[in-house]
């Protein structure tokens, strides 16, 4: 690529960036990108609120308690003995309970609940007729393992397949189609610049915009997810338990998704007037990927992206086989090959698009 082409590509990118980032019709893309952030930020806020409530509860215990102290509390134990071992509960609830004791008789009695906090848990001791009827434990906070599976599920099923997919549709299909509708594409086609260079410039502008929007959202989602954890535990997770590697992998997968889907939708914008049909076809193709023969699988973006996702979503025994097939990656490939695969698919599509853009005619009256 010569120096002139680089200058021309930079000129196209400069013109396109403002349009791509600040287009009024692109607001929904930001909303789509930030939707999981709202979910994870909500989760973080709720967890933090619970943690504060637990700390407050523990501080109100009559005497210091450890989680092991509750192991000694067993059903049938007298109410006084509970108070003797654990102290008076900081929160005590009571209500009238009813239980059917025969065909025509109902037993009405007082039920009490003693609410304690200890360690990372809340304990609820149920008292009936002066004796322990049951004891429940609710563990506060989340562990990294559980949260990383939740993140992986949201990332694979919503973020990759829907948010980035439709976001790229909005950004990349408009690169040519939008200008045809605005009747302004001739601005580029009347300049001494190869049309392939215009296409590359527009694609790179779309890629930069999509990557910035979606990787920023991915990064913020991860920050939101880790925000409520203890800083020391977070540091251990990041630096000693693959946390940083996972974060890098997710950011990389996000960028590769923009690269792959971007090329699909740029081509679709050159070929089709109505974005709904190509979007539906590509969505169907990507959705059918697990059911396709091995060779056809490789002609999709999601196949490579799934192989690059760092956390595998566990399939429980009760999960329907179709769903299990969507979740699991039966035919994964090595990460370098997956990266190479996405880039190859994108380049192949861009090459085909360059022929199309070279032959493209401007006839706004038919748009």
């Amino acid at each position: 690529m010569n120096r002139l082409w680089w200058k021309q590509i930079r000129a196209v990118i400069r013109l396109e960036m403002k349009k791509t980032f600040f287009a009024k019709r692109g607001i929904w893309i930001y909303l789509l990108a930030l939707a999981p952030l709202v979910l994870f930020a909500g989760h973080a806020i709720e967890t933090a609120r619970h943690r504060q409530a637990l700390v407050r509860l523990i501080s109100q215990n009559e005497k210091p308690l450890a989680e092991q102290d509750f192991a000694a509390i067993t059903p049938g134990m007298a109410q006084e003995e509970v108070v003797e071992r654990l102290g008076n509960p900081p929160v005590r609830n009571s209500w009238k309970a009813r239980r059917r004791t025969g065909p025509d008789s109902i037993d009405v009695f007082m039920r009490e609940q003693y609410h304690y906090g200890a360690g990372q848990s809340e304990f609820f001791v149920e008292i009936e007729h002066g004796k322990v009827a049951a004891i429940h434990r609710r563990q506060e906070g989340c562990d990294f393992g559980q949260d990383s599976i939740i993140f992986a599920s949201v990332f694979q099923f919503f973020y990759l397949r829907l948010a980035i997919f439709f976001g790229c549709l909005g950004i990349f299909m408009n690169l040519f189609r939008g200008e045809l509708l605005d009747k302004s594409l001739h601005f580029y086609f009347l300049a001494p610049i190869r049309r392939e260079i215009v296409m590359i410039g527009k694609y790179l502008a779309g890629l930069i915009a999509a990557t910035i929007i979606f990787t920023t959202s991915t990064a913020l989602q991860m920050v939101a997810l880790g925000w409520h954890f203890d800083p020391n535990a977070l540091s251990t997770y990041l630096y000693q338990n693959h946390g940083l590697a996972h974060a890098t992998a997710y950011l990389g997968v996000t960028a590769l998704a923009c690269l792959g889907y971007g090329s699909f939708f740029l081509a679709a914008g050159l070929l089709f007037r109505n974005p709904i049909w190509p979007a539906a076809a590509i969505l169907l193709w990507e959705g059918l990927n697990p059911f396709l023969p091995s060779l056809l699988k490789k002609l999709s973006v999601i196949y490579y992206l799934k192989s690059l996702c760092p956390v595998e979503i566990p399939v429980g025994p009760g999960v329907p086989p179709v769903f299990a097939l969507l979740v699991s990656n039966a035919d994964p490939i090595a990460a370098p090959l997956a990266v190479f695969g996405v880039i190859t698919v994108a380049l192949a599509i861009l090459l085909a698009s360059s022929y199309q853009v070279r032959r493209m005619e401007i006839n706004y009256t038919t748009e």
Binding site: K7, S184, H186, L190, R194, R358
Partner: protein, 312 residues
Amino acid sequence: MNDRIILEDVSKFYGEVLGVNRVNLSIPPGISSLVGPNGSGKTTLMNLMTGLIRPTRGRIRILDLGTDEPEKLFKIVGYCTQFDSFPKGLTGYQFVYSYLQLFGHDSRIAEEMAWRAIERVNLVQAAGRKVAGYSKGMRQRIRLAQALCHDPRVLILDEPLNGLDPLVRAETIAVFRSLAAQGCHIIISSHILHEVEVISDQVILLSNGYVVAEGQIQGVRSEIQEHPMQILIRCDRPGELASQVFQSAHIVEARMHTDGRGLLIKTRDPDQFYLLLNRIALNGIAVESVAPADDDVNSVYEYLIGSEEVKR
């Protein structure tokens, strides 16, 4: 290197709709006007010349360059389209400057060229304003600036004088003349026939996608045999002149001018008429002036395309 714009057997169909058909043209430097009613194929021809659309059949060469190589073509071609839309959010200056940056010019050079073009169309004051807020005439001028900014050898202008006020119109025509004098090709499409008459070195008349005539307007007029040539003779005794000219077989009609001081005659053989007039003048009728009355674009257009299409 060929200095002509050549179209060889060019046709363009939009599906089954005819754009232009079997157009053969060889356009020399100078100002050439494409004249024809709406839908006659003027814009199609211009879009074909600039590669915005491809011919269904035929070949187009612009000074030896193909229209499928925009990277070469637009170094020498500037096209002021009729499309009244611009990239969003740009000021007039940014519009021209961004266009020049697509050439790969350094920013300093692009800046200088942009300002020069903007000055040429008298839009310096408004150059910092968003194009979206421009009047129709200002948008036309900034498009002209864009087409002119890289000093093209071929300037293709689709209705370039639309929306311009008389002063700017005159200045713009002067710019076209000066470029034509420098050996540039200026291709103009226009509906305004008296303007075409004033500015064109040659005209290309289009009707329903066909070129019906091309060349210098007087040459085209003399080719139209079925309409007798009209000549206005100013003289002191028009009645006597009428009786004398009517003795010739080639005179079809002789009509007194409305002011009573001239005679409008129609003849099938202008050369014979001029010889006859010399003889009559020698016999004592004082002839003040003799001028063809229908070798203008209006008349040619009317004869070839039809009076119902004439727009003035």
